[in-house]
Symmetry: C2
């Protein structure tokens, strides 16, 4: 990721300042999507002059926010530390590379190039043409970790997919009669809130929505985050809910009894004002025979979009078609919170980046429902291998973060 | 656990010395059974004069070993720190309380009373009658943790029971065809060796023994322990193997093909010389109709004892009868390493003290065999609750130590 004209020699100050920029970038983690989290620090003669981070799509980028209160006298000759290559294009805001030039910044240190094809080196070129010294690659791994979803979408044209399961010690997600409230404790459920808030969309099934009458909403007051500038309650965006309904279980009559489709609530309550305005709140996915009628039936539901593209005529529900659709919706992070069948389909399709498994200290016993009905496998060699990335106590439960090892 | 004439005021030196005595006691953990692990430190004028621990049944107790190299001039007026109440009875060795008196020890600090009915306060009384000052209760919790099995046998007349399972993330212990080699990795299997070595008996089933042709032996070289005095290879004792064979699958013909019953190997190889001499190496448990014939059939197998007492005429295999039998055999620690049915029976019978579960980072999928087929349960309230005592990475696997929460 280094270019010919860059050097990899960084000073202690460089590391300190980039680490600060990364810390700043994280403050946008619940609000910037579909944009990436970016942080910026302006330094001159060893002193920090300005700090900024991107807060929300359509508002100032990190560099602009960091420079905002500074005069050209202050910034002339300064160094800018940015976690992502400054943009070079006119979007809702002018190019940041231009802004840095105007501020007479002398040197820009960038953690990583922006894989966005609209930028992708053009920002660096723009800076260099303006005579600004550029260094690339400082704390790049940490900078990448800021934006798994954005980078996945830009680099692989698919969202970063997290699959969530809550199981007992014996790997069950519900009793034989479907009862599953509650396997995990309040701390684990609050932790799920945090992951939902980090996600652009939650994927679930009609069955789950109907059974639990789940709103699948982020409740900001449960996130336990405090920011100096961002108002987490009003600025956090609610993830889109993608509901798979191939069997057409959700008619308008059913929907009107479900919290998820409650339009009035969606329009009035503060925690729902937050949906990115040009996005639908609920994407209701119907299979072919029901699609057209549903489009008519749901006309009154202003927060609902009907889609059928992820149901394949021959094979039924198709994970890769769904992934393509997510990409069309600019979804960076997809949170899959459904039953065992859909979970198995996702793992089978090798699109899961992280399996987030909460394991409760209980035994649910025989006839209870298996968490991941892959297979059946006839030899140990066929079983699905995982790579344990992280494990942590969350209340009385343990949260495991596994990376599925895909076979090609 | 304090007596009228004791005080609970201990000095910093007292804590240091008792902690050392506990550390010494641990050195006997693989060898002292059925005796407890005990450590002793002799201190005078702040200097450590002697250190000792109990190594093996029939050899010197901790106090005797600590005093061994010391003259009466040295020990007169000294303080002895002992992790367990000194014994008061003539067994294979004379009473330690008497030995402390002979050494003119001035003060004895004891971590805990010995629940063994042959001692149970008599040791303290004997010391006090000799004019020795006695303090009780220093680091008692840590001292108790040295001997879960011995204390369980003395206080509850049952062994401390550890139930071992090796599962996938989805709670399976074998594929539908029985294949289970290997779910967990080499580090977890070596860890199992350590638990086997800590156990007086391993309980398993004829099915498991036949399927895996398992020797269920402790391989000392895999234990990765180094002691200055104990020769771990020659002094470690092999746990008794208790094999449940209610369906009479193990005939002498079958047994002669199984490593577990290999008498020649048992007699000649160094790792099998170690069985406590007056104990049988294999306890083969037959149900009533097969018991008498088996007794005749297995006469040639000098390492095999045939037993039928744990099969109840009405109910078949009875966990509590097995527990009673273990108590007759002076088994402190029982390690249960069998299939899912026996594991469920043990949990159902509420005799499991620790569920040791190794979870491998794999998914074994549908039709694979559930680890603990309790129930079936119709509501979450009926499910079996566990208390997580410990969790630790062991190679690529995680080892959980759960304490089942029993309902009465």
């Amino acid at each position: 990721m280094s270019q010919n004209n860059t050097t990899t020699s960084f000073s202690e100050q460089d590391y300190t300042m980039m680490a600060l920029a990364i810390k700043l970038a994280k403050k946008g983690q619940y609000t910037t999507t579909p944009n990436p989290n970016v942080g910026c620090v302006i330094v001159k003669d060893g002193a920090i002059l300005g700090q900024g981070w991107h807060q929300k799509s359509g508002t100032g980028h990190a560099e602009v926010n960091a420079l905002q209160a500074l005069s050209i006298q202050q910034t002339a000759g300064a160094t800018a530390y940015v976690t992502l290559e400054p943009c070079s294009h006119y979007g809702r805001t002018p190019p940041c590379a231009l802004r840095l030039k105007e501020a007479k910044i002398k040197k820009v240190i960038v953690a990583m190039l922006d894989p966005n094809p609209l930028v992708a080196g053009n920002g660096i070129a723009m800076l260099q043409e303006a005579g600004i010294e550029v260094q690339i690659g400082l704390l790049e791994t940490d900078a990448r970790a800021l934006n798994p979803g954005f980078l996945s979408r830009m680099e692989r044209q698919q969202p970063h997919v997290r699959l969530k399961l809550a199981t007992s010690v014996d790997g069950k997600i519900a009793l034989h009669n479907g009862e599953s409230k509650w396997i995990t404790g309040p701390a684990a459920r609050a932790d799920v809130q945090r992951y939902r808030a980090l996600s652009c969309a939650i994927l679930t099934t009609a069955k789950t929505v109907i059974r639990d009458n789940a709103r699948l909403n982020v409740r900001p007051e449960q996130l336990n985050v405090q920011y100096e500038f961002t108002n987490i309650v009003t600025d956090i965006r609610q993830p889109i809910k993608i509901v798979l309904d191939g069997k057409n279980k959700i008619t308008p009559e059913v929907a009107s009894g479900l919290a998820l489709f409650d339009c009035n609530m969606a329009k009035n309550q503060s925690d729902n004002r937050l949906t990115t305005e040009d996005k639908p709140q609920v994407v209701l996915v119907k299979s072919e025979p029901h699609f057209e009628q549903a489009t008519v039936d749901f006309k009154e539901f202003t927060n609902v979009t009907i889609v059928s593209s992820v149901y394949n005529k021959e094979k039924g529900f198709c994970v890769s078609d769904l992934i393509s659709h997510c990409n069309q919706l600019s979804i960076n992070n997809l949170w899959v919170e459904a039953g065992s069948q859909l979970s198995a389909s996702f793992l089978q399709s090798q699109v899961v980046d992280e399996l987030i498994l909460y394991m409760a200290p209980i035994i649910m016993g025989k006839n209870a429902i298996d968490c991941i009905p892959l297979g059946p496998f006839d030899s140990m060699k066929e079983t699905k291998s995982l790579n344990l990335l992280d494990y942590k106590m969350v209340g009385d439960d343990i949260r495991f973060t596994y990376q599925p090892i895909n076979k090609h």
